[in-house]
């Protein structure tokens, strides 16, 4: 058989001879590969954004909820029935070696009134530890302190979105007074910008006050039980399973639960949420990629169609080549390489098209693009494979022509 370089040169010439036709044939592959690349990149981008958002909440966090989260119908959801006491909380903090910090949090959406505006925002009652667990420092001013906590002081730390909406852009919120349910609160700190969380909620749209203040002002009176959710940070991300186990053991002991009784609390980790959310993403991406792959196969059928036309059209050329000494294998390679070049070039252009499409579209919808090299190589390999598979039949057909018939073909 003649050299690969020679075959490639022949194929290139034949394809250039019918530029428009070659391009239109390639278009099927371009669109198929482009779609795969685009979908994969958007999917990958969304996944890493979800991951980043979850990680921005703190990687080594375990959430603890009162009440039952699972069991026969009729029971409330997690936290619906308070079961964790302040004593439990203290025990978790002091007795468990894997626990770094513990912070309860209660949320309530309330109108907040500044001198100029009223803004409905999320009020969170918590302790200073919360900001340590969430890895969320102040940009300006300071956090409320343990003594604010002890005295139920009317101090507040504000998120940047809430601050802009209450005071207008460019106004320093520090020292400003806001009213929540008629009580005046002094802004002592502005938090750093955190962005959206995994659920798409703007975390910067919020106001944080001491838990004790929240309980006296919003809930009237301190109870025996810890309201709301409790964030627990592990000493390291690796310690998360250990924290969950230790918390479970400790609370079962403290709540005197028998071996047959279910937990009256539940825990979940961010890692769980991450894998849950990213696996949803993966499923979506896989599904869409499968559809895109179908279009790649359709593109392959286009290649086969045009190669069959080409073989028929060039029957006499095949006859001439055979007469001067081309072996069946030479003819077969010539047409196979043509199909391969068509689809490989289509694949390469498709990668460019897919990435380009992403660059244009993604910003408009606020999506992130993340093109993995792996996907690029897989797409190129698949499109080349499509070329070979769909080029094989036409190439075989060409190589099996009878030279006498082929020379006589009009």
């Amino acid at each position: 058989m003649i050299s690969p370089g020679e075959t490639l040169r022949l194929a290139g010439r034949a394809l250039r001879r019918n530029k428009l036709r070659s391009f239109l044939t390639t278009l099927g592959i371009i669109i198929g590969v482009g779609a795969v690349i685009f979908i994969q990149s958007i999917g990958e981008g969304a996944k890493s954004r979800v991951r980043a958002q979850i990680e921005s909440a703190g990687t080594n966090i375990v959430m603890l909820f009162s009440g039952a989260s699972q069991g026969p119908g009729g029971r409330g959801g997690a936290g619906s029935q308070p079961t964790i006491t302040w004593e439990d909380l203290r025990a978790i903090q002091t007795e468990l070696p894997s626990v770094a910090a513990v912070a309860p949090q209660i949320n309530s959406s309330q109108p907040v009134i500044s001198e100029t505006n009223t803004w409905n925002t999320q009020i969170t009652g918590t302790t200073p530890d919360y900001f340590v667990i969430r890895n969320w420092p102040v940009a300006n001013g300071s956090l409320f302190t343990a003594s604010d906590q002890a005295s139920a002081a009317k101090t507040a730390v504000i998120g940047q979105t809430a601050a802009e909406n209450l005071f207008g852009p460019g106004v320093d919120p520090l020292g400003q007074i806001v009213r929540i349910r008629d009580a005046p609160f002094t802004i002592v700190g502005v938090l750093e910008r955190k962005g959206q969380n995994a659920m798409g909620v703007d975390q910067d749209d919020g106001l944080f006050i001491p838990l004790s203040t929240f309980q006296t002002r919003m809930q009237r009176g301190l109870g025996k039980f810890v309201p709301g959710r409790i964030s627990i940070s592990a000493v390291s991300p690796e310690a998360i399973p250990r924290v969950r186990q230790e918390v479970q053991q400790l609370l079962r002991e403290r709540h005197r639960l028998g071996p047959d009784e279910e937990d009256d609390f539940s825990t979940s980790s961010m890692a769980e949420m991450t894998s849950m959310l990213t696996s949803t993403q993966d499923t979506m991406t896989l599904l869409l990629s499968a559809i895109a792959l179908v279009s790649l196969v359709v593109g392959g059928i286009g290649v086969m169609n045009i190669m069959l036309v080409s073989v028929t059209e060039r029957t006499r050329e095949i006859g001439i080549r055979m007469a001067v000494g081309a072996q069946p294998g030479d003819i077969m390679m010539q047409f196979l390489v043509e199909a391969l070049v068509l689809s490989a070039v289509g694949g390469a252009l498709g990668v460019i098209f897919g990435v380009g499409l992403g660059q244009v579209i993604a910003p408009k919808f606020g999506w992130t693009m993340e093109t993995k090299t792996q996907i690029v190589f897989i797409s190129l390999a698949v499109s080349a494979g499509v070329g070979i598979i769909f080029g094989l039949y036409p190439a075989r057909k060409a190589s099996r022509l009878d030279p006498i018939d082929a020379l006589r073909y009009e």
Binding site: I2, S3, E6, R17, R316, E317, G319, I320, R321, M322, A323, V324, G325, A326, Q327, P328, G329, D330, P403, I404, L407
Partner: protein
């Protein structure tokens, strides 16, 4: 040295519907190196079939065919392709050049399949074009050349591999009489340089250029005459 072509009891039989049809039968023929042979006969006499067999484009049903002492009667398609490339140069009635391909590249075509490297290919193609007097037209495509020039490119393609045998199938069939004379002169000149040329024609004045004339009828050779070639007579 033995004959270049040695046919013994050669037959080509086609199956047609209810019976057999012998396009060629009991053909015994020897052609020496350097001969100039015309194959004549009316249409349907079997001359095309004989040409295809001589050109290794087809295999005989029976009999043997020794080409340069090698039995080529029952070779595989791959082997036949190699034999065509190495031993035979074809000239066709309708030229059979690749369109939109320059004269030089057309001439190079057999060398590609002979695995000759590009530089040598270009050189030999240029030489072949010089031999047919078309070196100045090397960059032209067939559509830019006259019929006579196209046939000369085809002859250059046939001789570029320096095969022992050139087979021409009605080489002047598509040409006017003045151009036909030109082409026959060229073939005569190549033969005088030592090439073996076998051509098919149904025109007596074209057959007159050969030194030997075979007449086919109903699939058999009915006469085999030596004659004085037309150009020798004229001189």
């Amino acid at each position: 040295m033995s004959a270049l072509i040695q046919l013994r009891d050669l037959a080509k039989v086609y199956q047609s519907g209810d019976g057999e049809f012998a396009a060629l039968h009991d053909v015994n023929l020897g052609i020496e190196r350097g001969e100039f042979v015309a194959i004549t006969g009316s249409s349907g006499s079997g001359k095309s079939t004989l040409m295809n067999l001589l050109g290794c484009l087809d295999s005989p049903t029976r009999g043997s065919y020794l080409l340069a002492d090698r039995d080529v009667a029952q070779l595989s398609r791959i082997e036949l392709a190699k034999v065509r490339n190495e031993f035979i140069g074809f000239v066709f009635q309708n030229f059979n050049l690749l369109s939109r391909t320059t004269a030089a590249e057309n001439v190079e075509l057999p060398l590609i399949y002979a695995r000759v490297p590009p530089a040598e290919r270009h050189r030999r193609a240029r030489e072949a074009l010089e031999r047919v007097g078309l070196a100045h037209r090397a960059g032209h495509t067939p559509s830019q050349l006259s019929g006579g020039q196209q046939q000369r490119v085809a002859i250059a393609r046939a001789l570029v591999t320096q095969p022992p045998l050139i087979l021409a199938d009605e080489p002047t069939g598509n040409l006017d009489s003045a151009t036909s004379v030109e082409i026959m002169k060229l073939l005569t000149q190549l033969q005088s340089q030592g090439m073996t040329i076998v051509f098919v024609t149904h025109e007596p004045d074209i057959a007159a250029y050969a030194a030997r004339k075979l007449l086919l009828k109903d699939g058999a050779i009915i006469s085999d005459l030596r004659q004085q070639p037309a150009l020798e007579k004229a001189s």
